[in-house]
């Protein structure tokens, strides 16, 4: 049996490797293999997998990539993820990628899709739009057709038909993966000292580069190992991190929050791993099933419109309740329109329920953790000292 330390060491190697060696090796093992990159926040990875391709989550360059070329493409007031992603491309670190998907999340990522088209005319590039109308016969029909167009585009990359049966098989595999992700998250919420957040984070990051089957196995191994190990419990408070769904915080920030006295019992890092909250049905039309799951079973996040104003923030409240959290830390990347525009509304919702919350901003290459530690530490103290519980 592997230990958590061994598993996380593997994940850390994958996290640190900005040349994506593991993915390159996977591709080189068979010349027919193709890789489709995608950016946050959600793409239907099932369709990529159904075409026999690897879905590669590209989350910027983190804090170890020196951005030189990428800065020449962006003004100072634009977030860091597009410039470090361009840096990855311009330095040939993504030269093995056969297609790129840019999900509908904000205008920066949207426009990056056009930049990619101009820079890499030979690569399959698609801006992947999703419905903000959640009626089956309106947004559902539109989305099903978008999925069909994506399916055709992916067939062009993999060079074969993607059948309904292929999609059903892949959907089942991703259903299993999502179940394991939820199991990890639940396990962490129950006993956060047994599954430190930086470990859970690295485990999920591994899912961005590994074949889904390997990632599922890794999570199973981690669960077995984590449950068997005895780790000291700290007198930390329990918090939810909100607003980090696109540009990722540096790993040190995740660690710093916990070291400052806050167990992270839920977060919105890499939402693609748990965007769909329930199993996607396997019988019937697989495209219709994916569309329906998106409309009715997807998480609430800033990239989505909430048609019912009275429900704004209800997902966050439910997460706080479900995970028995004592507070919320809004940690958003600088210049992140979706997270920062959403935040005041969510703060109102929390304040109405007397749920403590604080806010700060970061960039993926933020280096100074002391202010974060102080802010999170003070927040933890205030919860411990003055909360009603």
């Amino acid at each position: 049996m592997k230990t958590t330390s061994e598993i996380i060491s593997t994940c850390q190697e994958l996290y640190d490797d900005l040349n994506f060696t593991a993915v390159r090796k996977w591709k080189e093992a068979d010349e027919s293999r193709k890789v489709i990159g995608y950016m946050p926040v959600y793409v239907p990875r099932e369709l990529i997998h159904a075409g026999g391709m690897l879905a590669l989550g590209i989350l910027g360059g983190g804090d170890s990539l020196e951005v030189i070329h990428g800065d020449a493409y962006y003004q100072s007031y634009i977030c860091r993820i597009p410039r470090s992603t361009l840096e990855l491309a311009l330095t040939k670190r993504l030269d093995f990628v056969d297609g790129m998907l840019f999900p509908s999340i904000c205008d920066v990522i949207r426009n990056l899709s056009g930049m990619w088209k101009l820079m890499q005319p030979d690569v399959y590039v698609r801006y992947f739009d999703v419905p903000q109308n959640f009626k089956d016969d309106v947004g559902g029909n539109y989305y099903a057709e978008e999925l069909q167009e994506l399916r055709k585009g992916l067939e062009g990359v993999c060079g074969r038909k993607i059948t309904d049966e292929d999609i059903r098989r892949s959907t089942a595999i991703y259903n299993e993966n999502r179940k394991l992700v939820e199991e990890i998250y639940s396990f962490r919420a129950q006993s956060p000292w047994q599954a430190p957040s930086y470990e859970v984070y690295l485990l999920m990051r591994a899912g961005m580069v590994l074949p889904v089957e390997e990632h599922s196995q890794l999570m199973q191994d981690y669960l077995v190992a984590a449950k068997s190990e005895d780790r000291p419990m700290r007198d930390n408070c329990r918090i939810v991190v909100q607003g980090s769904f696109c540009e990722q915080p540096p790993l040190n920030l995740v660690k710093s929050i916990e070291m400052a006295g806050c167990y992270i019992v839920d977060d919105d890092y890499m939402l693609v791993t748990r965007w769909l909250m329930e199993d996607v049905p396997l019988d019937g039309d697989p495209i219709a099933n994916l569309a329906s799951s998106f409309l009715h079973q997807s998480v609430e996040t800033a990239a989505k419109y909430e048609p019912d104003g009275t429900r704004k923030g209800s997902y966050l409240l439910e997460t706080v309740r479900k995970r028995a959290a004592e507070g919320v830390i809004f940690a958003a990347p600088s210049f992140c329109d979706p997270a920062l525009l959403d935040r005041p509304m969510l703060v109102h919702v929390l304040n109405d329920k007397n749920i403590p919350n604080i806010s700060f901003k970061y960039a993926e290459n933020s280096g100074q953790m002391q202010p974060i530690r102080e802010q999170a530490g003070t927040f933890a103290d205030s919860i411990k000292l003055w909360s009603e519980a």
Partner: protein
């Protein structure tokens, strides 16, 4: 966009006075709904459905225009800081914060009267992600009914049947029923056709006006003047007889200027000799609008085409007109075709064509801190245009309505360098210029 000039010594032509009267009358209508009983719909400029809204006898209120009005009146700075005090990030769109800060200060219209609470928020989600969050924020404040029209982004540069069908279906199943419900007026498609017929007439004259800048000297400035010219068609007047009359009057004035060999009208009178012909990408700064404009006309620089004047509808590039024979489909095409709903490669193609068709000396980008929809990718646009046309490009930065981000001396220096670069290019000196 449509605003009243800000200072006393502005030279006014008949079309300007006509537009001023139209805007004043509209604000009077908006601020007297308690007496008139008229219902108000708040919506956005890009993808606005004015012809449809008029079918329900509703008034059209546009938050961006209110923010611009407050920007030009030097009031937006305080409103933005008010919103920031309320917890809105310094990083986000200043139109949003000016709007929210204005609400906190009582939502006073330019005529000094309080603006009404909208009866319906019609979120036209076209070409800008921020719109979606902005309306959630407004709904949070107003608590009124909201309906949304999502306009898919043309990521591959074309309008697909699926996109058009989606917009039409939302119009039929969500937007029109909401308008009927709130207004109490039943939808009449023939009324919509009539409105669209009037739109197309005005659009013909607008395009003639914009394309008059192909002449040398250009009789118009298609950016600083252009924002006034697009006012009626982008706001509450598309589909009205007033808009037809305005554009006819404007066209006649410009015909007279062409006949007289005159250049554009500036706030200080005729511009004088045309020395530089520019294409401009990006919105203008509103808080120092006149100072900004002066930096151009003092140097004899005229903007012959601009992308900002396409943000509320593109009528010249691919000849779109509202089509009364296919009203809902045409409305969908209008929304889908707005400038910032087009992908970056298409935006580059448009600018390249403008530079060629209008015989411009180069491209100037005014990059706006607040507006990622425009700004993200503009440095690549600049490189592409330089490579394709061999014409020099320059890049300046400012903001829409936040006075803290307008640095006059920096912008002036940059512009002067740019004009020198154009001179050098004309003389054939040196290597191909790079951006200023």
């Amino acid at each position: 966009m449509s605003t009243q000039p800000e200072t006393q010594d502005v030279v006014k032509e008949a079309s300007m006075l006509k537009q001023k009267d139209m805007i004043s009358a509209n604000y009077e209508k908006l601020t007297s709904t308690e007496e008139s009983g008229a219902k108000v719909v708040s919506t956005y400029v890009p993808g606005n459905l004015n012809e449809l809204i008029m079918c329900f006898d509703m008034l059209n209120n546009l938050p961006e225009i209110n923010a611009i009005q407050n920007g030009m009146r030097k009031k937006s700075g305080g409103m933005i800081m008010e919103a920031e005090k309320m917890g809105h990030s310094e990083d986000v769109c200043t139109y949003v914060k000016a709007d929210i800060g204005n609400m906190a200060k009582g939502s006073i219209a330019p005529n000094g009267k309080p603006m009404p609470v909208p009866d319906l928020l019609l979120l036209s989600y076209t070409g800008c992600f921020t719109f979606m969050k902005w309306f959630e924020l407004l709904r949070d404040q107003y608590g009124c009914e909201t309906t949304m029209l999502q306009v898919p982004y043309k990521g591959d540069g074309e309008t697909t049947k699926n996109m058009r069908d989606y917009v039409v279906k939302q119009l039929k199943e969500d937007v029109i029923p909401a308008l009927e419900r709130v207004s109490g007026v039943k939808f009449d498609i023939d009324r919509l056709r009539e409105n669209m017929r009037r739109s197309a007439k005005a659009e013909d004259d607008l395009v003639w006006v914009l394309e008059s800048a192909k002449k040398k000297p250009s009789p118009i400035d298609a950016y600083f003047g252009g924002v006034f010219y697009i006012g009626p068609i982008f706001t509450a007047f598309r589909g009205t007889q007033d808009a037809i009359d305005y554009y006819r009057l404007l066209r006649e004035e410009i015909e007279a200027r062409i006949a007289a060999g005159q250049g554009p009208v500036t706030p200080e009178g005729d511009m004088g000799e045309e020395k530089y012909r520019l294409v401009v990408e990006g919105p203008p700064n509103w808080t120092s609008f006149r100072e900004f404009w002066k930096m151009f006309y003092d140097e004899g620089a005229v903007v012959v085409s601009s992308t900002y004047t396409k943000v509320g509808g593109v009528y010249d590039y691919d000849g779109f007109r509202h089509d009364p024979d296919n009203p809902l489909e045409s409305m969908a095409d209008y929304c889908l075709g707005c400038y910032t709903n087009r992908n970056l490669p298409e935006r580059v193609d448009m600018i390249e064509k403008y530079i060629s068709d209008y015989e411009a000396d180069g491209l100037l980008i005014n990059s706006i801190k607040s507006c990622n929809s425009f700004s993200a990718g503009q440095l690549m646009i600049m490189r592409e245009i330089e490579n394709r046309t061999g014409k020099p490009a320059a890049f300046i930065e400012s903001d829409l309505v936040d006075p803290r981000y307008f640095s006059a001396s920096n912008i002036k220096n940059r512009l002067e360098s740019y004009f020198q670069m154009i001179d050098q290019k004309r003389r054939g000196g040196g290597s191909a210029p790079r951006a200023a």
